[in-house]
Symmetry: D2
Subunit: 361 residues, 4 copies
């Protein structure tokens, strides 16, 4: 299986260069008879798309998704679902300043080395624009998961050095930073003004929580669900770290303190983050990850060109001062794809087994 396919049973294959004709994906293995419309997908895409506020890139993409196959009379057929977004902002532009130059912190240099040929326009396939199709595919998984009561919610808990003091998932849905602590919004506004002015960027820390996930998902010993979550999150552009459960102070705890003791009603704590031995335990799944500062910044940097000469480069145009913010819907989508795939995998092997919770009610 090649590198642009995610999932083993709910299998998503994406394609598309940032400034090519279109972005798209094909989802194979989706159960039949799920009610789905373009609107279900569009509403998720709208949460991620650029040009929405003063703090994200001003590229204006309508990003209108179209369903080309696999859905008939409003319901999935069980055949491959094809989704497409045509690139509308694809004006002929002058790329001469980056055509032969490797922008620092970008994949320009590695794509050139690996393939010997690259689409330099907007980073081609290495652009974060690719993640739009993750969100689109994730929307179908979300529809199915929600109908089974499973909810996946992301949030931002730190931007640069401004850190949340509490995690309020409702707050995270009501501000443009997806920030989980509303008391920090003014501080954030001030920081962003400054960043935009100096053409610089910062990183962020994010989290995702899954509530109501059934017990029993995960396929040891390699496709443990935490392993697949780590891969899913680390595959998102600019992510450098991922953790499951409560790890911030775990090295200060002893085994007797870190373990989650068990009662009739459930676990007494959730340091494990909802996963034991690579299998969901029915508790809240909790994970966190860190996104590095945006690479595309105005601030002049030193690099080399394709001829091997040292040059200076400045990435013009407006860019996100913190790409981490838009990672919220992307991370939710990736987690939903992991859960959907594991639901089907579990159903395949253990579909006939009674997998009810060991806990009272």
């Amino acid at each position: 299986m090649s590198g642009n396919t995610f999932g083993k049973l709910f299998q998503v294959t994406t394609y598309g260069e940032s400034h090519g004709k279109a972005l798209g994906c094909v989802i194979d293995g989706c159960p039949p008879q799920i009610e789905i419309s373009a609107d279900d997908i569009q509403s998720e895409l709208n949460r991620r798309k650029p040009g929405q506020s003063d703090i994200t890139t001003q590229r204006k993409e309508a990003d209108i998704v179209e369903i080309l196959s696999g859905v008939f009379e409003g319901k999935t057929l069980g055949t491959p679902i094809s989704l497409i977004i045509y690139n509308q902002d694809q004006r002929s532009k002058d790329y001469s300043n980056i055509k032969d130059v490797f922008r620092p912190n970008h994949a320009d240099i590695t794509y050139q080395a690996k393939y010997g040929h690259r689409d330099y326009r907007g980073g081609g396939r290495s652009s974060a624009r690719e993640t739009a199709m993750r969100v689109a595919a994730g929307a179908i998984a979300k529809k199915y998961l929600n109908s089974h009561g499973i909810q996946t919610e992301g949030y931002v808990s730190q931007i640069g050095s401004i850190s949340a003091e509490y995690i309020n998932l409702t707050s995270a849905k009501t501000n443009k930073y997806f920030f989980c602590d509303e008391s920090k919004l003014e501080e954030l506004d001030a920081m962003f003004l400054e960043l935009i002015e100096e053409g610089n960027s910062v990183g962020a820390k994010l989290g995702v929580r899954v509530s109501n996930c059934p017990i029993g998902l995960g396929e040891p010993v390699f496709d443990k669900i935490d392993a697949d979550i780590a891969k899913a999150i680390m595959s998102i552009n600019a992510v450098k770290s991922v953790s499951i459960g409560h790890v911030d102070n775990i090295l200060d705890l002893k085994g007797s303190e870190a373990r989650d003791e068990i009662t009739k009603e459930g676990f007494k704590s959730n340091n494990a983050g909802g996963i034991l031995g690579g299998i969901t335990n029915g508790d809240l799944i909790e994970l966190e990850f860190i996104v590095k500062p945006t690479s595309s910044i105005k601030s002049t940097g030193q690099t080399i060109n394709t001829a091997g000469e040292e040059v200076k480069v400045e990435v013009t145009g407006r860019h996100d001062p913190c790409v981490g913010i838009r990672a919220v819907p992307i991370a939710e989508a990736m987690i939903n794809l992991v859960l959907m795939d594991h639901l089907l995998r579990n159903q395949a092997q253990c579909g006939k087994v009674d997998q009810s919770s060991p806990f009272e009610n």
Copy 2:
């Protein structure tokens, strides 16, 4: 592909319960004509096996590996390589105390819920004993990688709250803690004495470095090499977090500081940890991960049994006060499996492309 197979081209399938007849693996897709002997594999296994020092579990396993197929006249045939270790410490033992009880922080409860049937002896398939075959398979990858100059080296940089002040890979090879800062060894000895006395445990922080890795490995957008590394590491028992590159202070840096500028001779810094856009950039690969405290401890804990009744449980026998220590050879093996798989994947698609480094000499 099912959950006990790792890799897409250098494909390792493992099997075996902790207290069953044997552990083994089958490696399919290995290139022919690699010189390999049982000794090459045994020497790696010896680095990981229990019963070696006073700080690891006293289970005495000879852990002698045997090659059953795929190697002829000292060289790989290109056919599947089968490796096996018979369990010799498999005495009939009394498991009545854990047969019907879910040990806290263990996979007992999730295996029971998922499969409705489990091998309770020593944790069955969920035991860390499973990782022996990762090390065995990794030894074959290591032989191949070393012959191409690629070196993978692991170390421990923190145990409980005792943290290294520097990373010395040579030191990590000469003490029983794989610890990278020799000045801390006495402190560690004291802590372990205490832990053993109270039957408790602590977690650890570890790292792996890969030197001389060629440019161009990694398959975007989902099988980025950092994504596959994250999965490989997170699939190891008790690992809760993984990071690539320098992330400890990354939220304090701006984009202009965090990026690695480029000169004719190479990158000026390595915050990226040797990977850009999911593809190796020829620089040192650097990663870190955190292992939670050992779950099997004497200290009595509260739990429920299979009948749903609340009970107390105490895990008897000697156990590792810190399982993280033995994770060093395991993590090295997993990284070697990832590198080997990606070498072959890169060779399949881009084998005809010139992938030389863009840097001078």
Copy 3:
């Protein structure tokens, strides 16, 4: 991996219902730097498309293919290649006569039973129209294979009871039946006139030959190249049988007669059809297959409807009196996809091995 993906390294995923918005495919794993244009693909599609002569269905589809991604400045990027054909003949039509009726010999009844929901328009995903994307993807493989000297050529050797007396590959390229024996063309014309008049159909026998295939392709013991060829051919609509090499009289031969003895210059015969032990031996690959009579015929047939009632059905519209004819470019495409995939698989595992022929030039 789900059912709409073919190949493990040169991985083709297709989508699209017969009367939906579009048909398309995504090809992942294609080597970079292959020169490819829409024309290269279009010319193959033109060989297969309906409405070309009086003997194929009169559905008029322009079938114009568009490349949406993966090709830049005329060369493949190594990223996923997306191809699309919009359905232009998708007029709103009255499907009330087949909406609730299972046409005999069609997949209507099995799709309904499996998915509980189906696109009844033109057979939806089960239509042979799906094969257009196999031809499109195969065209890219063909470009690569041809540049390495490998030629794949198909032909028809029997239609109904009219059988070729010799196989002339050049003849097969110059008549509308792809028939390999020109002396039978008049007989065929007469038979087709009759079939069209009575609204009936016949089956066909076809063959494919691959010349100049390198030695060493095939991955025993399950992905033998003959096994993958059998699967590729049997997956084409209406194919019921596939054979490799000379099998017509093989049960009349003894082992001493059927084996291909070996000389310095090569094999003395080619009963094996170019494959030994599942691996190409450097000789001509020869295979044959049989296609059943077209299912969509005017002739009234007995069936049941979705309510379980017995009804009569007549499939109106013009249809191919022999679908086997158009299977020639489709079979060539499938064989090219198999060869391409195995070339990459062989390159991955054995790329460093000397695989020269054991024969004198």
Copy 4:
């Protein structure tokens, strides 16, 4: 996924050279709680093993299978099942006559060319001995399928030019030729006496029937169940042809005759062989295949050696005059593996859909 793994969800990986230490397999993805014992597997192996009658090779292998993992207290755990057979007839023998010679009709020459290194002892991995593990793995699938009422039965219908006049599955179980027409047994005895005397061999035609297979199995458009059956059968040593349904006279029939009309009670005929559009239709699955004459024969043949010199070769030892006979349990096993895999795949995607038959029972 590499070439020694079969199946996507019920995934069987085999290993072992003919004269190596052992043959084995690992089955991953097997549902938990299936009752299975070594005896269930042994009884299938006994049907295939050599040395049983005067018409098969006299190699005496006890072929005792052992279960190493994945089964506990008599039931599958859901973890990988490891099966092993140690080679007991592995005496040190003189292989000098075939070490450097390519036996005609064997894989010697292609293995040498592909891998540049081969185990020449008894054909190494290319030996039909490999198929023992297919039968072993198939036995587990069979246990599960039988418990769901599905029966897979193979038979031989032609050996050399002696052809059955009817197909009686009961007869096929009671004679050493697995022959479905008992009236031919004397003729067969005479032919075999002659073949053994002259050290020669013949081919055979076989068939497999599956009764009581549920409707809905198969994953279009590439993993149609007939496509997977074709691959499964063609991957068996010496098989050269496979067909589904009634194809012998299909080119003499018109569409109106070949289609299977439908009534309330079911199909009026079964030319389709139980499969429509790549999905089982609930009717009897019927397939046939042809096996070429045994390659290992006494009769002297011309060939070359590894130095490229022309030499004569005679394969000494007793061999099966017709390997096709022992293909009966092997083919049954492969079909059971295909069915098992497709049952799980169907359960994964469509497990929640009502897939009851459209027919009145």
